[in-house]
């Protein structure tokens, strides 16, 4: 799917994406010539159809994780099915209580993967303590709205 600005005859570029949490998706595309924007709004079925392919509108911000599609879509997975080791070597950030509590609400089957993505994000930026604010920033920067 692509969007064309008819006036400028230019392909509109992906600008941002939002997953409000109700199964829908909003993706904004902007014309590089005239800056006109359009929003593509998908219903839950359309959103699911794209998600089922294991692809991300707007492109990938985090390398594909092992069993990413399985872990993020399967219900009834064992909490300890995976033992996620940190990808980045060296000092690991610590989680404050509020961040840890928020992480505990992530479904257990995928929690280790999500934890690793946030921890790698923090380690790469030399953030020593992961707080809910750090998680919000990471979600925004990495496009992890579903996490």
């Amino acid at each position: 799917m692509k969007f064309l600005c008819i006036e400028c005859d230019r392909q509109m570029g992906f600008a941002e994406r939002e997953l409000p949490g109700d199964g829908t998706l909003a993706a904004v595309f902007t014309c590089p010539a005239c800056s006109r924007s359009v929003a593509m709004l998908t219903n839950p079925m359309e959103t699911q159809l794209v998600a089922s392919l294991g692809v991300q509108i707007g492109g990938r911000t985090v390398p594909e994780q092992p069993f990413e599609l399985t872990r993020s879509t399967v219900e009834g997975g064992r909490a300890d099915a995976f033992n996620d080791a940190p990808a980045q070597a060296g000092a690991r950030p610590v989680w404050d209580d509020a961040a840890r509590e928020r992480l505990s609400r992530v479904p257990s089957f995928v929690r280790g993967m999500v934890q690793r993505i946030y921890a790698d994000y923090a380690a790469e930026r030399q953030i020593a303590v992961i707080t809910p604010e750090v998680m919000d920033t990471a979600r925004r920067e990495l496009g992890l709205e579903g996490m």
Partner: protein, 300 residues
């Protein structure tokens, strides 16, 4: 009206590049399987013929003969192969881009949805509640892709893929693994099985999958007391399918309650012994070049 460029006429960089993302997924599969010499599907057109038993027994027999073997249980909704090899769920180590598979006592590397799901949980998805059929096939295909691409299979001589009953999933496997070495077809002797498996055989042919051989399971009943073989099902589906496929009948295995009991407990040694000659014949069919001997040209 102003002429509007069509999809394929747009050449600007596409940040989403969804087709590129899908291509990247396929490349991961190809890269992962580059160290696997032969990927072989074990198929049947019908449930209950003992396909997983044959898969596990073949895998164990190949391992006993010194070959490096993996078994991917692609029966995602009804996984049994891992347990037959004595592998129980444990925490799978995740490294950068791969998951380390458990290794059965017989040396076979195994991946199965049985290792991921809660004990009695069916395979189910977090998804909107309407029109689920639209994407469920896509999710299953995606899961199979991850079983192929994200498992640290390592260097293998043979990766057996225990397919679910029916033939539709074979198309998915062929798309994901264009270099599929071929398929072993499992049947029981009965006419009903012949008819169902014959369809699977044709589906394999249509997908240009070489037919490597036929295994007839439950070919008689082995008495638990005197060990003599008696009749169980009427029919000669194994021989007929072998002729139809132009592929050898690799093995005829009687139903042996003693063997079944051992396999249920994760002791696949007796099945491996029963399937030893079949494993040798399979390897001979595969040859060393990756092409089975006597491969048929795809039908027009």
């Amino acid at each position: 009206m102003k002429r509007i460029r069509t999809y394929n006429q747009l050449t600007e960089t596409d940040r989403s590049d969804l087709l590129g993302q899908v291509a990247s997924q396929r490349e991961r599969v190809t890269a992962r399987l580059s160290s696997v010499e032969h990927v072989v599907a074990v198929v049947s057109g019908k449930g209950g013929v003992g396909k997983s038993l044959v898969s596990a027994g073949l895998a164990a027999a190949l391992a006993r003969s010194g070959r490096r073997v993996g078994l991917l249980d692609a029966d995602l909704h009804g996984p049994t192969a891992a347990r037959m090899l004595g592998v129980r769920a444990s925490s799978l180590a995740v490294r950068d881009d791969e998951v380390e598979p458990p290794v059965a006592a017989c040396g076979v590397r195994v991946m199965s949805s049985d290792l991921l799901l809660e004990e009695t949980a069916p395979l189910a998805w977090r998804e909107p509640g309407h029109e689920r059929f639209v994407w469920r096939g896509t999710l299953v295909a995606g899961m199979l892709r991850e079983f192929l691409a994200d498992v640290a299979w390592g260097t293998l001589d043979v990766l057996l893929v225990d397919m679910p009953p029916g033939s539709e999933r074979l198309d998915t496997l062929v798309e994901l693994v264009p270099g599929l070495a071929g398929a072993v077809v499992v049947t029981i002797p009965s006419e009903a099985s012949y008819r169902a498996v014959r369809r699977a055989l044709e589906a394999a042919r249509s997908a240009h999958v070489p037919l490597l051989g036929v295994v007839e399971n439950m070919a008689g009943y082995r008495c638990g007391s005197c060990r003599a073989d008696g009749p169980l099902f009427q029919g000669d589906a194994g021989e007929r399918l072998s002729r139809d496929a132009g592929a050898p009948l690799l093995a005829r295995i009687p139903f042996d309650p003693a063997m079944q009991s051992l396999v249920d407990q994760g002791d696949v040694a007796s099945a491996a012994m029963a399937l030893g000659p079949a494993a040798d014949a399979l390897v001979a069919r595969l040859g060393s070049s990756g092409e089975p001997a006597g491969r048929e040209e795809p039908r027009a």
